[in-house]
Amino acid sequence: MTNGNSGGAEGVLGLPPSSSISVAYHSRFSSHDDLMLLEVDEKLLPEFLFQRVTLRGGPDEDAVLCTESKTYAIKFVGTSNSVFLIPPSDVSSEFIESNGDGNIAVASVLKVATGCMELAEVAPKLDQLKMFLSQNPYGFAEASDMEIDHEDEKKKPGLFTWGDLVCRIQASDEELRMGLKLLSAIEIDGYWRILDNEYMNRIINFLLHNITLNDWTFDSLNRDEVLVGLQADGFPLNVASHVFELFCIKKDEELCTWKLNEKPICVHLAREILKDGKMKMDTFMDKWTLKIPSGITASLDVLKGEVLTEKLGMDTWVYLFSVSSLPSTPADRFSKLFEERSKWGWKDLEPFVRDLKIPGHSLEGLLLKYTRRTQPNVDSEPVFSSR
């Protein structure tokens, strides 16, 4: 056996046939608790090499690993094997042997690894986002206060910049942006805010009122005209513009016309009517159709996932029950749903579970795991209850 020509990792991996290499403890062998092994999918490798990966989490949470668009849980998998870790013998490396003998090739073991970390893709944890932003919603009082004190660098409580959110929410940047969008959050003076309901309602009422007042057609609105009108009513441009885009959609790219977005408008008006509690269906429909701008048809379909109906005696009652107020983790979601009702027909249940997206799980799989399904006969609708 001849001695291999080089030492270090390359000496081991490139050991020529009919040669040998000495394996010894490194001159700086120790537990090296600051060195860790992480198993990574080949396709995730570029994320690491181009520095697009961060670890996120609060002091009491298990850290998650985030790329720009996905979130991964980290699990340590121990081994009872002896895993000798051998660095390359690169002279510029910090792991260079301190008394290396140039003539004898040695593969030096720097550390014996006790295991390796593994990644598993998980859904982002966004439930806390609503909680944080609800601490200090943006409302009329603040909007009217034109005294914006830029000198005051001390952070006010309950206010979060993008940087603050990134440090507290276990989600990738893309998932966090999506979460903010789902909450209809708006960035004001560098802080992410949600508008308080009263304020939001006020703006929409003014918007609808102005449409009638100016005899505009609800499906052919001029954005600038509408915003000028709202500003004249005392609303800051950024807020007016934000609300406009929540409740209107572009109809024609060229002519720059917009129209009222039926679903958000109808849902918002329904929420306003039902905010004090349940109501008889007939009463609700009367009030609702009255408030909805002419030209838009009031259909209960748009309220799927926002309200529930129940039969009490001869009457049908309707009340608010929004999927947006439910937890996003499947176990908690189903728990809350079965708290509300012990049995759900599929037609009623579907709008409240269709948004559940867990990597590696289909909706069918989640239903199988968390519910018991019965079907009285082939023609009737399946019924789901708690497991």
């Binding site: 081991v12 009919s18 040669s19 198993e39 181009f50 895993v83 593969a107």
Partner: protein
């Protein structure tokens, strides 16, 4: 809290580390437990052009192969950096210092070699031996 995972390797050229993995535990001669640095463990041989390897530790010989990892393993180092806010607080960063794509894996029970004194003189202290556990 956010910890950045940096890679000082430069574009895609991460130093390649190696793993030699065996079942059981390598023990040092009594008295050497705290002075393992620079101690020889054994000799790794590749007898032929096959990817077959032997690892001789003391009077035990293990037989193994070079295995390509299904998923590469990154070697990460946790480093403390001065916090941007400049106070006494220290921030933490993770740095990718290497990548592992292959290992030499020994899965067999050690075979005791016919005992004879090792002819190669060693001036690096006592030799180590293997013992199998579990």
């Amino acid at each position: 809290m956010q910890i950045k995972v940096k890679c000082s390797c430069g574009e895609g050229k991460c130093p390649e580390w190696a793993i030699v993995e065996l079942q059981g535990v390598v023990q040092s001669q009594p008295g050497f437990e705290n002075r393992l640095q620079n101690l020889q463990i054994g000799t790794l041989c590749r007898p032929s052009s096959q990817e077959s390897y032997t690892f001789t530790v003391g009077y035990h010989e293990l037989v193994g192969t070079k295995v390509s990892l299904k998923k590469p393993i990154l070697v990460l180092k946790k480093i403390k950096v001065p916090n941007e806010e400049g106070e006494n607080l220290v921030g933490v960063e993770m740095n990718v210092v290497g990548i592992i794509r292959h290992k030499i894996l020994f899965k067999t029970r050690p075979r005791a070699l016919i005992s004879r004194p090792d002819p190669t003189p060693t001036d690096k202290g006592g030799k180590t031996s293997t013992s199998e556990q579990g």
